[in-house]
Symmetry: C3
Subunit: 114 residues, 3 copies
């Protein structure tokens, strides 16, 4: 069977916890071997990918070890004054969060916006 492919979109910090729990539940339900998951953070939500003072760090690392890809929007980083070396080392910087999401959907990925 082909893997299910899904991109999660977070642009509000208040939705970070819900999104990470959604992803964790999805992996438990369908199985990591049957899934490709990418999470794209833009706007204020990009702050969740900054290493310092981050309550979600352990959960992010655990999901990254399960092959969940995390992307940070370069536009949001510039607006918020965040440098790449402030992000967790497993984060990929993309030139535009919405551009990344559009490309994934064009390639057949499902989209979930918690």
């Amino acid at each position: 069977m082909d893997k299910y492919k899904v991109v999660f979109h977070i642009d509000e910090q208040v939705k970070v916890g819900l999104t990470l729990h959604n992803i964790s539940n999805l992996i438990t339900d369908i199985g990591g071997d049957n899934l490709e998951i990418e999470t794209v953070a833009n706007s204020d939500a990009v702050q969740v990918l900054v290493r310092s003072n981050n309550e979600f760090g352990p959960m992010l690392k655990e999901l990254a070890e399960k092959q969940v890809v995390f992307c940070a929007c370069a536009n949001a980083m510039r607006n918020l004054g965040i440098q790449k070396d402030e992000l967790f080392d497993f984060v990929t910087v993309v030139s535009s969060g919405v551009g990344e999401i559009v490309k994934k959907q064009a390639a057949g990925w499902a989209y979930i916006r918690p």
Copy 2:
């Protein structure tokens, strides 16, 4: 013509009324015979599918009679201490709300997140 297929996603109680009105307007616009509609509730929004003290009960029943499918996320039910027998009898429990949405999109369904 093939029917339009669409899955609605609600994970906030505050969005329940808007979502139900969106569905009702969609049926009026495109016609129930041309649509397959499923609504997946997870996180706090799963409470709208509980029978007791539910202001949305009449609207939910009316939509269910028009063949709108309502799904409740088992993870959210467990977190909120909701039992299956507390739900409206037309509700389907799914093992994971996001898993259900991913499978629908993989099968070609549109996704709307009010």
Copy 3:
């Protein structure tokens, strides 16, 4: 290459600014020649397409000149007492905002809900 096609959905006024910046960034990132973009406003967000007292007017016009299509939901207009001649002249009225989004996705468009 085929153009990327994407429909943006706004149903909250508070999300209008973010959505318009998302669209602007997307055009900068991928290039207007490689994109077809439509923005569907329903519920309260339809008010952003009314000409009077609209802080977003200049940005809307700039995006419309870049071929971004803006649609207003007729149900939302009726609920809010908005007439067609109150809208910017580049706005298209659609019978149902969610119906328009469903049809776009059925035709292969990506969906983004900021």
